[in-house]
C-alpha cells in the first residue's frame, strides 16, 4: 500500500494491488504454473521442431525404400533403422519425422482457414441478423447435413485432374480443402451466438453513440470477445484434424503415398498390426496421440484460463 494518508484524501487511489496485466498475459501466467501444460507445450514444441527441421532428427530419406529390408523390427538407437522398417523397407523413423510436417501443416491450414471463414460469417450474421443471418444459417445447415466423406470424394474427383505440383502444401491441398469446407460451421455458430450476446452490451452501445461504423464495432468490440474463446478451441481442433487425417488416409482420400503423413503410416501400420509388426502402428499412433493429447491439454487449460466466469 502506498501512503495511506495520501490515498485517503484523493478519491482516486493509486492502489498497487492489481498489477497491470491484460487478459492474455494473465492467462499465460496461470498456465505457466501448471505442470501438465508445461509438459504439453514441450511435446507440442518438439513436434513443431520436427515439422520445421526434419533433417535434424533423421538423415535418412523416407522415400528410399528397399523392399529387401521389409519389416525389420526396431533396432533402437545405434542401429541402422532405429524404429525398424515398414512393409516396403522404408525407414520408419525417417517417415515419422518427415510425416510430421504434412500432418501438422494440414491441421494448421484447415483450422486457420476455417476459423477465418467461421468468424467472418458468424460475425456478419450475428451482427446484421435478418436476411444475412437467414442465408448464413441455411448455408451452415446445408454443410452440416452433407456428409463429409461424400464431399471429400466428390471434390477429389473434381480436382483430380488438376496438377498441384508437389510442394509441401500441394500434397495436402485436397484433404485441406475438404476438411476446411466441413470445419467452419462450428465456429460460425459459436461466433454468432457470442456476437448476439455481445452486440447488445453497453460498451457496444457506447461505441455506437460515439458514431463508430459497423465495421469498427464488429472488429474492435464484437469480435475480440468471441475470438478469445475461439482461440481456445483451436488447439483441440488441431488435434481433431490430425486424427481425421488418419481416417481420410484410411479411406484413401487423404495425403497420397509416396508422400508420407502420420495418417498414412497409421493406416499402413494397422494392416500389419496383427501380423506381428505392431510397431508399425504403435509408433505413428503414439506420435498422433502425444500430439493430440498435448494440443487438447493446452486448449482445455487455455479455455479455462481465458474464461472470466471461472475466475
Amino acid at each position: 500500500m502506498s501512503d495511506p494518508s495520501v490515498s485517503a484524501l484523493i478519491a482516486e487511489e493509486t492502489q498497487s494491488g492489481v498489477p497491470s496485466r491484460s487478459l492474455w498475459s494473465e492467462a499465460f501466467r496461470t498456465l505457466r504454473r501448471r505442470p501438465d501444460v508445461i509438459l504439453a507445450t514441450i511435446v507440442a514444441v518438439f513436434f513443431l521442431l520436427v515439422a520445421l527441421f526434419p533433417f535434424l532428427f533423421t538423415s535418412k530419406d523416407p522415400q528410399r525404400c528397399d523392399i529387401a529390408e521389409s519389416r525389420l523390427p526396431p533396432q533402437w538407437f545405434g542401429g541402422e533403422h532405429p524404429f525398424g522398417t515398414n512393409a516396403y523397407g522404408c525407414d520408419v523413423l525417417a517417415q515419422l519425422v518427415h510425416g510430421t510436417r504434412p500432418s501438422l501443416l494440414l491441421a494448421f491450414i484447415v483450422v486457420g482457414v476455417s476459423v477465418l471463414i467461421g468468424v467472418t460469417l458468424g460475425t456478419v450474421s450475428g451482427y446484421y441478423l435478418g436476411i444475412v443471418d437467414a442465408v448464413v444459417s441455411r448455408i451452415v445447415e446445408v454443410f452440416l447435413v452433407i456428409p463429409l466423406l461424400l464431399a471429400a470424394l466428390l471434390l477429389l474427383s473434381l480436382f483430380r485432374n488438376i496438377d498441384l505440383g508437389d510442394g509441401p502444401v500441394s500434397t495436402i491441398a485436397q484433404p485441406a480443402i475438404v476438411l476446411t469446407m466441413f470445419a467452419w460451421m462450428g465456429y460460425t455458430r459459436y461466433v454468432r451466438a457470442s456476437v448476439l450476446e455481445t452486440k447488445n452490451l453497453d460498451y457496444v452501445t457506447a461505441a455506437r453513440v460515439l458514431g463508430a461504423s459497423d465495421l469498427r464495432i464488429m472488429v474492435r468490440h464484437v469480435l475480440p470477445n468471441a475470438i478469445g474463446t475461439v482461440t481456445a478451441l483451436v488447439p483441440t481442433a488441431i488435434a481433431a484434424v490430425i486424427g481425421t487425417e488418419a481416417v481420410l488416409a484410411f479411406l484413401g482420400i487423404g495425403v497420397r503415398p509416396p508422400a508420407v503423413s502420420w495418417g498414412i503410416m497409421i493406416e499402413e501400420g494397422s494392416q500389419w498390426f496383427t501380423g506381428g509388426s505392431e510397431y508399425l502402428l504403435l509408433f505413428p499412433l503414439g506420435c498422433l496421440m502425444a500430439t493430440v493429447l498435448a494440443f487438447v491439454v493446452i486448449g482445455d487449460n487455455l479455455r479455462d484460463a481465458l474464461d472470466p466466469k471461472l475466475k
Binding site: P4, A11, E13, Q15, G17, V18, T30, R33
Partner: protein
C-alpha cells in the same frame, strides 16, 4: 430431522437466540492467494426479531450466510474456525449432509437473483413443494394444493393458474414472492433473505419488504436481512450488524446505530446516503475503495479510508469488539470518540 429447539422466551423476556454464529472465519483458496472472506464474525438472531447485516459489496455477507446454510463449496472455501449453532445443535460438526438437512427443515434462504435461483425447467408449483414431496413424501395432489396455498400466502394473484407456470413467465417481483413462498414451505424458524429486493424497483421493493415483515410478525420467525440499503434497514430491522472486509465492525440496535454510529465506517456510510427529504450540498463520500480481499491492510482494515485513523490503527489489529452501553459493540480503537463525534 427437526432440531430440538426451545423458542420460549426466558423469564426476563429476552428471547433465547435461535441461531447463533460465533467467531466464524472463512477462507477461499484462489490462484491469487488466500482470500479471508469472513473473519471472526459473530451474531445471533432470536424468534420474532430481524437482524440486518449491511456492508459493501464483497464484505462477506453472502459467504457467511451460505456457511450457515451449509452451502459453501468446500473447496475452494474453508471454514477456518467458529461455530454456528441452531438451537442447541452445533451445525458445523454435523457434516455437510446433516447440516443441510437441519437447515432444510429449520432455516430457509431467499436469494437475490430470483430468476437465476429458480430452476427454469420446472414449474413454479413443482419447485414450491419439492422439499415437501422429496423429504416428507407428500402426495402430488396435496403438494399442488399446498403450492396454491403458498402462492396465496405471498399474494400472488390467480395462484391456481400460476402454479402451473414456469419462472420465466413471472415478473421480477412475482418471482421474488415465489422465492419467499418456497422458503416458507417448510415452516422455517429462521429466514435468511440475501438482498431480496436489490434488483427490484422501489415500488416492488416496498411490496416485498412489507410482505416479509407481515409474514415474519405472523410466524414469529427470526429474520436475517442482508442488504446494503440503509433505508431498508432503518425501516424493518431490530438489530444491525455492519460488516467491513469480512468483519462485523459494529453491532447495535437499529435506533442506536442511526442515532449515533460508533464506528467510523458506519458513520461514513450513513453520511453518504442521499436523502429524499434533503436537497443539495456535496454528498459525503468514503474515499478510496474496499480493500482487495487478498491484501487486507494490516491493522484495522478500514484505516486507509478512515478519517479518524491514527498510527495505532495502522499498526494494531482492531481491538476485540469494544463493548459500549446498550449492548452495542464496535471494532474501533476510538469507538467512544466516534460515537460522540458530532459532524454537523
Amino acid at each position: 430431522m427437526r432440531a430440538d429447539v426451545t423458542t420460549d422466551p426466558t423469564r426476563d423476556g429476552t428471547p433465547v437466540p435461535l441461531l447463533q454464529v460465533d467467531d466464524l472465519a472463512i477462507e477461499f483458496a484462489t490462484p491469487d492467494g488466500v482470500v479471508r472472506a469472513v473473519d471472526g464474525l459473530s451474531y445471533s438472531v432470536s424468534a420474532g426479531r430481524t437482524l440486518a447485516i449491511v456492508g459493501e459489496s464483497g464484505s462477506g455477507k453472502s459467504v457467511s450466510s451460505l456457511a450457515v446454510m451449509g452451502l459453501l463449496q468446500q473447496p475452494p472455501a474453508r471454514i477456518v474456525r467458529g461455530s454456528i449453532r441452531f438451537g442447541g445443535t452445533e451445525l458445523l460438526s454435523l457434516g455437510q449432509k446433516a447440516h443441510r438437512a437441519v437447515c432444510g427443515e429449520n432455516i430457509a434462504m431467499v436469494f437475490q437473483d430470483a430468476l437465476a435461483a429458480l430452476n427454469p425447467v420446472h414449474t413454479v408449483g413443482w419447485q414450491l413443494t419439492e422439499a415437501l414431496r422429496a423429504r416428507h413424501g407428500m402426495s402430488r395432489r396435496d403438494a399442488t394444493a399446498r403450492a396454491v396455498e403458498l402462492l396465496d400466502l405471498v399474494k400472488v394473484p390467480n395462484a391456481k393458474q400460476r402454479v402451473k407456470e414456469y419462472p420465466h413467465q413471472f415478473s421480477g417481483g412475482m418471482r421474488q414472492r415465489v422465492m419467499i413462498a418456497m422458503a416458507l414451505s417448510m415452516d422455517p424458524e429462521v429466514l435468511i433473505a440475501d438482498e431480496p429486493t436489490t434488483a427490484l424497483d422501489v415500488t416492488v421493493q416496498a411490496q416485498i419488504m412489507r410482505l416479509l415483515s407481515e409474514i415474519q410478525a405472523e410466524r414469529q420467525m427470526g429474520l436475517i436481512l442482508i442488504t446494503h440499503d440503509m433505508g431498508v434497514v432503518a425501516n424493518v430491522a431490530d438489530d444491525v450488524t455492519v460488516m467491513y472486509a469480512g468483519r462485523a465492525v459494529e453491532q447495535a440496535s437499529v435506533f442506536d446505530i442511526y442515532a449515533a454510529p460508533a464506528h467510523p465506517y458506519t458513520r461514513a456510510l450513513l453520511g453518504s446516503i442521499p436523502r429524499l427529504d434533503q436537497k443539495g450540498g456535496g454528498l459525503a463520500v468514503i474515499p478510496g475503495r474496499p480493500p482487495d480481499p487478498t491484501q487486507v491492510p494490516a491493522g484495522c482494515a478500514f484505516h486507509p479510508r478512515c478519517a479518524f485513523a491514527e498510527d495505532v490503527c495502522r499498526a494494531d489489529p482492531p481491538p476485540p469488539t469494544v463493548s459500549l452501553p446498550f449492548d452495542r459493540t464496535s471494532a474501533c480503537h476510538f469507538a467512544e470518540e466516534v460515537m460522540n463525534h458530532d459532524e454537523h
